[in-house]
């Protein structure tokens, strides 16, 4: 039903020794919010820069809107909105002028441009800051300005590279809602992030990257179904004899039980009554315990199962 908007095939990018992208294939359909999820250094930005024809690559092909992408493919570029990881605005120009400048690179007609700029300002909620210089904006507003500059010309395809880095929760929500709205209005979105919560929240399809490779792809439910983990049970417990931990670990459906001195984390696959069986073991051994909670699998679990390491190191 949908058209293919972006097609990347066998993309290889080397930085001398380092292989930043290793035979990457991606296909993005019209109307999707496509999430590119991966830890720092996994090659998300490199992918985007190759896609935009800023970076040369060693192998592979890139098509956008069914046409070959190149630095001089101006008609393709006209329909792309870019929000770079590093904020790119003119320090000397006011908020309004920055948006107008970038919009004017795409839109010739002055009246249309004026309307578009006003729409963009409203969209990111910078109405009160039109005369401000970018430096005077808070981190969140600064990022929102960057977004406004990227989307003002109402592009068909919007590429956002970690737009929520260093943003307060309020701005972050505003940004995420905005992206969903852009999508509702018809734009296809490519969204990179290393925050799985964001990607889970807004993306209709997700590719997980690690070390330049795509290690999984699908909707978030599809991704979670691929792994055996269906439930993670965490129990606060003051002391746990090794024997009991082993006993827990050998319960049916339990495939890992870890104790870190304060919490017992049990990962289970399939089956019901997992929690009851675990608690029974603890009771039988007359161990008292504190809070108990269970979690459904997250994308982090997906990443963890495929790569054997966490998506990111604890909270950052």
């Amino acid at each position: 039903m949908e058209n293919t908007i972006v097609k990347i095939e066998g993309l290889v990018k080397r930085y001398s020794e380092l292989i930043a992208l290793d035979h990457l294939d991606l296909e993005i359909k019209e109307g999707e919010v496509f999430g590119l999820l991966g830890p720092n250094g996994s090659g998300k930005t490199t992918t985007i820069n190759c896609l935009l024809s800023l970076l040369s690559f060693d192998k592979g092909s890139i098509e956008i809107f069914g046409r070959k992408m190149s630095p001089t493919a101006y008609d393709i570029k006209r329909d792309i909105g870019v929000i770079m990881q590093n904020v790119a605005v003119y320090e000397e120009l006011s908020v309004y002028d920055n948006i107008d400048y970038f919009c004017g690179l795409y839109v010739k007609d002055k009246a249309v441009r004026k309307q578009y700029v006003e729409d963009a300002v409203k969209f990111v909620g910078l109405e009160e800051f039109l005369k401000f210089k970018p430096k005077k904006l808070s981190g969140g507003l600064f990022r929102r300005l960057n977004i406004a500059c990227g989307i003002a010309h109402k592009p068909r395809l919007i590429i956002l590279d970690e737009p929520t880095v260093a943003v307060d929760p309020q701005s972050r929500n505003k940004i995420l809602e905005g992206i969903e709205e852009l999508n509702r209005n018809g734009a296809t979105i490519i969204y990179t992030s290393h925050y799985m919560e964001e990607v889970e929240q807004i993306c209709t399809r997700i590719a997980i990257m690690d070390k330049g490779k795509k290690i999984a792809e699908g909707t978030k439910d599809e991704l979670k179904r691929t792994i055996k983990n269906t439930e993670t049970v965490t129990i606060e417990i003051l002391s746990l004899p090794e024997k009991v931990r082993e006993e827990t670990g050998s319960l049916p459906h339990v495939y890992s039980a870890e104790y870190d001195g304060a919490r017992l984390t049990v990962r289970c696959s399939g089956g019901k009554h997992n929690l009851i069986r675990i608690l029974e073991v603890l009771q039988k051994n007359e161990l008292s315990f504190g809070r108990v909670y269970t979690e459904l699998p997250t994308l982090n679990d997906v990443f963890l199962e495929i790569t054997g390491k966490a998506l990111r190191d604890k909270e950052d």
């Binding site: 820069n49 800023l54 870019v82 790119a88 003119y90 000397e92 120009l93 002028d97 400048y101 004017g104």
Partner: protein
């Protein structure tokens, strides 16, 4: 699209703080310092100190006495006379011997004079006596008619002597190349500092040099359009700075830049082009940060200005003696020489050589810049 780029690039440049600090305030400040310092040096070097002289009155002449006293009392006097009677001649001669006076004048039927040795002071005294003797009747006449006129006579006499002995009394208005040279170099500095803003524009349009460059490269505007619009904006703003500098030096500091003022403005604008092209070159060469490039361009500009005599006026002459080729290719030397020859020679041949060299160098810089910024895709960002 070109006009859109141009408009915003100019707007950006005009809002850059560095522009005002480095291209306007700093040179204006230097100009004021130069003016103050050089005016002082100039005064001390060329305006002679008051020449002390002894007058031995053998036969009294009230008019001569009045005129000399008038000179004594005038502001900033050329001579200061001490009077002795004929009996005191010995005292006067002693003063001459100890060089406390430049000469001893004998007021007899005719004026005569003794000096210890010839020199500027002796010449001036001699000229004074000659002028006085020559104009004695006119002077007497004038003083007779207007008893208070001796002061006027005294002033007129010193004025006459100063023209005869070629002592410039007022530096202002005289075409003094020694001093103006510094201002030519100052203009060259302003021109070359244009490289700083030129460089910034270049960095901001290269995907591998700045986030802005990367972002702009994603737009559907041709890179050549972006580059040319940036350079044009730069040149326009730099021209404004050059016009400001010339105006400031000429009309605020009141430095005489000669009578070909429109040509001076034109030359200033052309030299600004050289600065912009230099910035384009530095901006496009190598991938180091904007800050280091700014450092490089400042050092390069100041070095060029140093070699052409911004800090020490005789630098260029020393170089001309030893390695003259430097003066033929040093942009700063060429620029200041342009102004110099405009001012000095009615013939334009030297000026034309200079200005053609400037244009050629600008062209070479720009050409290298275009070659270096031709890439559209980079191996690394």
């Amino acid at each position: 699209m070109f006009l859109h780029e141009l408009f915003y690039q100019i707007k950006c440049s005009l809002k850059t703080k560095e522009l005002y600090i480095w291209i306007i305030l700093f040179p204006a400040f230097l100009g004021i310092v130069f003016k103050a310092a050089l005016y002082d040096i100039y005064n001390r070097q060329t305006k002679f100190e008051t020449v002390p002289a002894a007058v031995v009155t053998v036969r009294d002449d009230p008019i001569f006495s009045q005129v000399t006293k008038g000179i004594n009392e005038s502001e900033d006097p050329m001579f200061s006379f001490t009077f002795f009677s004929a009996d005191e001649e010995q005292k006067a001669l002693e003063l001459l011997d100890s060089e406390e006076v430049g000469g001893v004048i004998y007021l007899e039927d005719e004026l005569s004079m003794k000096v210890k040795y010839d020199g500027m002071k002796a010449t001036m005294l001699k000229t004074f006596i000659e002028t006085y003797t020559f104009q004695e009747t006119i002077i007497k006449d004038a003083v007779m008619k207007d008893p208070l006129g001796y002061q006027k006579v005294a002033d007129a006499l010193t004025e006459d002597i100063s023209t005869v002995t070629e002592v410039p009394l007022i530096p202002e208005g005289t075409n003094t190349n020694y001093m103006t040279q510094y201002f030519y170099n100052l203009l060259a500095m302003v021109a070359l500092f244009g490289s700083m803003t030129g460089l910034r524009k270049t960095v901001e349009s290269q995907a591998n040099l700045s986030a802005l460059g990367a972002r702009r490269s994603c737009s559907p505007v041709k890179k050549s359009v972006t580059t040319v619009a940036g350079l044009t904006a730069n040149f326009i703003v730099q021209s404004l700075c050059m016009v400001f500098s010339v105006t400031f030096i000429r009309f605020v500091l009141k430095v005489d830049l000669g009578d070909k003022l429109p040509m001076i403005y034109l030359t200033a604008v052309i030299s600004g082009l050289l600065g912009v092209c230099l910035g384009f070159l530095i901006g496009s060469a190598g991938t180091f940060s904007e800050d280091s490039k700014e450092g490089i361009s400042t050092v390069v500009s100041l070095l060029m200005c140093f070699l052409s005599g911004l800090m020490a006026g005789d630098m260029r002459i020393k170089i001309e003696d030893r390695i003259p080729i430097i003066n033929r290719i040093n942009p700063s030397a060429l620029i200041s020489d342009c102004f110099f020859s405009l001012n000095m020679f009615s013939d334009y041949s030297r000026y034309i050589t200079d200005i053609v060299s400037i244009l050629i160098i600008s062209f070479i810089f720009a050409l290298i810049g275009f070659v270096l910024t031709r890439r559209r895709k980079y191996a690394s960002l």
